[in-house]
Subunit: 133 residues, 4 copies
């Protein structure tokens, strides 16, 4: 199963390959961040790992923004490219802020989440650039 293939079956204009890639990774990143926020909340707040409050916040916010961006990136009916481009760029900044916070902690879920966020940020920037021309 592939979101990229599904989007390409829309009767309207084909998405740029970078946009289809971004739609796919945004879907993943939204759920990775949701899971990381849930895991961070359950970690102890001891000296070893530091306070996880800010990590819960950024992962939760990043999940919501990735989800909204994934939904706009998936739609092919009508045209909302200028807003989608702005949102992809904002989402890239959100993913980078979330990754920077996750990289401050040594939990395995934070490391995995940071890696996903870095990849997603790069995909969002590529997709935004593909819409520019």
């Amino acid at each position: 199963m592939s979101i990229r293939k599904m989007i390409a079956l829309h009767p309207g204009a084909r998405p740029s390959p970078p946009l289809a890639d971004a739609a796919h990774h945004l879907m993943y990143c939204a759920k990775m961040c949701l899971s990381c926020a849930d895991s961070c909340m359950a970690e102890g707040h001891g000296a070893e790992h530091g306070d996880m409050t800010q990590c819960v916040r950024l992962c939760s916010d990043c999940s919501d923004i990735c989800e909204a961006t994934a939904r706009l990136a998936t739609r092919r009916t009508g045209d909302d490219q200028p807003m989608l481009r702005e949102l992809l760029e904002l989402c890239a900044r959100m993913c980078e802020a979330c990754a920077a916070e996750c990289e401050r902690h040594d939990h395995e879920h934070c490391k995995l989440c940071a890696q996903m966020c870095r990849e997603c940020a790069a995909d969002c920037r590529n997709a935004a650039a593909s819409l520019a021309g």
Copy 2:
């Protein structure tokens, strides 16, 4: 029942009144736009009202962005103000684009949706300004 009152009961810092107002109206605008997109889809595509495709798209996108913005605006745990301010400003532009499209149609649901979007855009700008200082 009031979302403003609920947010103010958080044990952390109180939200600025403009931010609490925005959280409230974003919640409404997300559902008004969802309903308008659903209504536009069901309208005939005759010469009288014009093609509703673009209106469905912008109302759907506006609903998703308002929903995400409402969620960030509601959270008080941790601090994500710079990203929230950016998102409020982007959301104001999205609401204005949606309002401009809805104002091109004479359906009662489009008129009501446009009015809600204009108010929500103003609230988002006020809330963003309240975070700036």
Copy 3:
């Protein structure tokens, strides 16, 4: 502004008044529970208030289910009444479980959330009954 009025402007069949009421309260309850989960997470876990972990979980789950139910209850295009009725009944049970947990804590946000959940559960049951005939 009123969600009930907006839904009634759909060109298709009018919603039953109990269904329009439920759509309105579900929208509120989704955000009240999101805010309560966020507040519970920020409360201390001392002997005075007890562990808030389960309250965070139920408020988060209740928020997600109310949001999905609100979306289905708002749509008027096509017909999905049997599924909507099932979901309204499940959502009523979720709201009651969330209320019962919130009622175990003496935070003001928990009291307000419990009250909202009790009202929303009653609205969901009324709306489900209005679809039955």
Copy 4:
């Protein structure tokens, strides 16, 4: 990247393998249905393919229910198993109703969506059974 691996990194109890599989496929199905609804809306309504209105409705509703179910299935903090089991069973019925509608149309996106929905329904039933004991 894997949602299953991420969920397993939670400091609390491990999810059953069927629940982790369901969380993964629910995430996909939510976006496949969102994309199919968007594609159906853009199809012509000619005699060849039939009216797509009901397909838009069921795909939209299925997307929302899969999204909510994915979120509950991903959370590991606290315990909400009875409600999760009920929701997985309801979601399986929703996926089957959506698949049955999509199977009435010969669009490639409908065929792919129906296949995804059938797989997701089976995963939801397996996950619900894994929670029962």
